[in-house]
Structure formats: C-alpha cells, structure tokens
C-alpha cells in the first residue's frame, strides 16, 4: 500500500504542476482540462490495449456464477470501509445492514463468495470517504482524471486515500501482503471493467464528445451516490436559464 500512496503523491504533484501550466487553456468548469485530456487519452489507450482485453477474456473464460462469486467476495472485503463511512455519515441503519451483511456473507456465504444476505432481504450499498466528505459539506473541487484509476475530483481523490487508512488490511503484517494487496487492486479493476463492458461501449457509441460524456456521467453518478439515489430537486437546473430576455 506504500506504493499506492507514493503513486498518489506523484499524481498530486503532477496535477499541481499541470494546474500551474494550464491556466491559459483552462475552462471554467474544468481548470485542469489540458492535464485531464492528456490522461484521458492515455487511459483510453491503456484500456484498449490492456484492461478491456483482460476484462473481455475474463468474461469469456469464467462462467457467470464464478464472476459473481469473485465480485461478491471483493465487495465483502470492502465492508469495513463502507461500515466506517456509514457511521461517519450518521447513517446508523445502513451501518447496521453493512455489519449484518458482512457477518452473514463472511460465514454462511463462505468468505463472501455468495451474497446470502441479499437473498435474506438485506441489500448491499456502497459508501466511500469521498461521499462522506460531501455529506460533511466539502465541495468537490476541480475534476481530475487520474492515470489508470480514471475520473475523480479533489474531494474523491482525498477520500480514496483516506479510505486506504480505513482498510484493516493496511495495518496487517504478513508474508505476501504486497502481492495480495496488488492482486486485489487488479482484481477489483478487472471485475469493475468486466461488469461495465456494455456500459462503456454504450457510452462510447452514444456520446457526442467522449471526454465530456465521461466527465458529465461521473459527476452525475457521484451526485446520485452522495444522495443515496434520491433526487434533490433544488440541485436541478432551471430550463429558463438561457432563454433570451423578452
């Protein structure tokens, strides 16, 4: 995990350097536009050459029950972080559900391979420190495209680092720990990409401007996640905003 943190330090420095050098080309809603576009192009190539082929091979080789099991197990491992963020947001009912799911799925679900809790009516949800910071009233800050990790913003990037601190595995010491953490990071990436093969393809086909499309989708999905899927009508735009004055 030290490597991950170091990578982030480098990214932050690069982003800061980029921010200094791009003010002339910056956009109002995207001050890191030049850096972001560059990383977007890099990520797109990395996806085309490595990530998508691996995800597609995984999809074709491993049958659906196997993929579901891996996704369930990885999701179960994330429970402590979700639980911590549930508590930090004051959502005690949801925290109780996360705890119950973790207990049930880790035991009856054989280490989280089977989502027994869902069948018992306890559905899962996600939370992260980026969402917690938003609930605490911290604004998102500039949008930033991170190498390999993809779209984010300053708040979510900070949250991502803080979530590492909330992971029990961060503090455990045992042989092969780095290999396990790296393997888990890779498996998470492949699993998420595999689950979104159709969605990413659809986004590419439907988009008018692929970069803007990803940025907009990310920002909208984060707003949706922060509000737990509830529409906040006050946040919706006015349709008369750009009418010509009569």
């Amino acid at each position: 995990m030290r490597m991950t943190f170091r990578t982030f330090t480098l990214i932050s420095a690069a982003v800061a350097a980029s921010a200094c050098g791009t003010t002339s080309s910056a956009r109002q809603d995207d001050p890191l536009y030049v850096w972001n576009k560059g990383v977007f192009a890099f990520n797109k190539t990395a996806d085309k050459v490595v990530v998508e082929p691996v995800a597609r091979t995984y999809h074709n080789v491993v049958p659906k029950p196997g993929r579901d099991g891996v996704r369930n197990a990885l999701g179960n491992l994330r429970s402590p972080v979700i639980f911590g963020n549930d508590l930090l947001q004051g959502k005690f009912g949801r925290a109780g559900k996360t705890l119950a799911r973790f207990g049930i799925n880790s035991t009856l679900g054989i280490g989280g391979l089977f989502d027994v809790a869902k069948r018992a009516g306890i559905k899962g949800h996600t939370e992260d420190m980026g969402q917690t910071l938003a609930v605490w009233g911290i604004s998102s800050g500039p949008y930033v495209m991170l190498p390999i990790l993809g779209p984010s913003n300053f708040r979510d990037t900070t949250g991502f680092i803080l979530d590492i601190g909330m992971e029990p595995l961060t503090y455990m010491r045992f042989n092969g720990r780095h290999a396990i953490l790296t393997g888990r990071f890779g498996a998470n990436g492949v699993t998420v990409r595999e689950a979104n093969l159709d969605t990413v393809e659809a986004l590419r086909h439907a988009s008018i401007d692929e970069y803007a499309s990803l940025k907009s989708a990310y920002e909208q999905l984060r707003v949706n996640a922060i509000s737990d899927g509830q529409v906040n009508i006050d946040d919706l735009p006015d349709y008369d905003e750009y009418e010509d004055e009569e």
């Binding site: 008018i208 989708a217 529409v231």
Partner: protein, 211 residues
C-alpha cells in the same frame, strides 16, 4: 402596512403552494400513460423499423418540448444565437434526441413501469419517480421524469435513468463540442448529423455488438 402585506403574501403563497402540491398527481398519471404509450410503440411488431422510428419521433415531439430542451442543451450558447442556426440545431437535435430515447427505451421488452410518487420543484415543474421492473431485468431500474406544465399542457423536459439525466448529459457534451470550436453552434450540428447518419445512439446497438 408591512404586517398586512406579510399576511397577504403568506395567504397568496399558501394558495400558490397548495396549487403546486395538487399538480404532482396529475403529472404522475401523465408519466404512467405516456410511458406505457412509448413502450407500446416500441413493442408493436406490426411496424417495421422505419415505421417504428417515424412513429416514435412523432411521439417524442408530442410529449417533449423539443425547442426548449434544444435551447437548454445549448446552454450559454443559446443566448443571442443566430435564429437560423438555432432553428437548424433544433431540427437536428429533435431527430437525435428521438433516436437516443428510442434506443434507451428500446432495450425494454416485457417490463412494466410503475409510478412511485412525485415532488414539486416549483409550480409547473415537478419530478415524477418510477421504476421499470419485470421482464428480463434482475433489479428494478429507477427512472425519474422532469415534467413541466404550461397552460395546462404537460411535457417531459428530461429523463433520469441509471442516475443520469439525459438532457443534462447532452448539454455537457454539446457545449463541450461548441467550446472546442470557438463557440460555433454549427460544429454541434455537424456532430449530431454524423451521429444520425450512422444511427449511433448507444445502448441497443452496443448490446447487440457485445452479444
């Protein structure tokens, strides 16, 4: 006098808000009817692809305030735009939006839409919540509808599916294209025409490609 004014204002606002609160159930019924209508067109096997697209475009035109949504997606570039270019954009956007909605809703076959409730944003502006369930989908999908009522006529301004408001998404993309071309609306018109020519509207085609 200020006190009387305040009381009058409170009474007026009370009437206003009561009126607004009564609007939502009508909007819920509107969404239920119009969504069923859309699904019926898309399921109609007696129509070939061209006829279905034409009928769906007609339907979109009747339920959506296309000129208003077109101005919305142009964002700040709509203000003071050349009327001729604006008219061309609206016409092209109408065809594009119809293709997108047909493509998105076309993925649903035996599913049904159920209205869950609604919220009034302000008088004549509400959000109706619904879910699509049944058929081939495992988990119900939340769909929210932004409804605007003017002169007793209800129209759809935006639809949120999978957490994404489609018109808002289109605005962010279209204004980006225009910004990349020095504020020229013509660039957005060209891109949309290209998408229409290719029939490139997203999900349905992508899923077909993946299967």
């Amino acid at each position: 006098m200020p006190f009387i004014k305040s009381v009058m204002l409170a009474v007026f606002m009370g009437l206003f808000l009561t009126g607004a609160a009564l609007a939502a159930p009508q909007d819920e019924a509107f969404v239920q009817n119009k969504a069923n209508e859309a699904l019926n067109i898309l399921r109609d096997e007696s129509l070939d692809k061209a006829a279905k697209t034409a009928k769906f475009a007609e339907y979109v035109d009747s339920v959506t305030d296309v000129p208003r949504v077109a101005r919305f997606v142009l964002g700040k570039y709509a203000r003071g735009a050349d009327p001729e270019k604006l008219a061309t954009f609206t016409q092209v956007f109408r065809e594009y939006a119809s293709g997108v909605y047909e493509s998105q809703l076309g993925n649903f076959g035996g599913e049904t839409l159920t209205v869950l409730g609604s919220q009034d944003r302000k008088p004549g502006d509400s959000v109706v919540a619904s879910v699509i369930s049944g058929g081939q989908i495992e988990e119900p999908i939340k769909v929210n509808w932004r409804i605007r009522t003017r002169n007793g006529k209800q129209q759809v301004l935006d639809v949120q599916i999978f957490g994404i408001w489609l018109a808002l998404q289109q605005r962010n993309e279209i204004t980006s294209v225009i910004a990349n071309h020095g504020g020229d609306i013509g660039a957005a018109i060209d891109v949309l025409r290209e998408k229409i020519a290719k029939g490139d509207f997203g999900k349905k085609d992508a899923q077909a490609a993946n299967n």
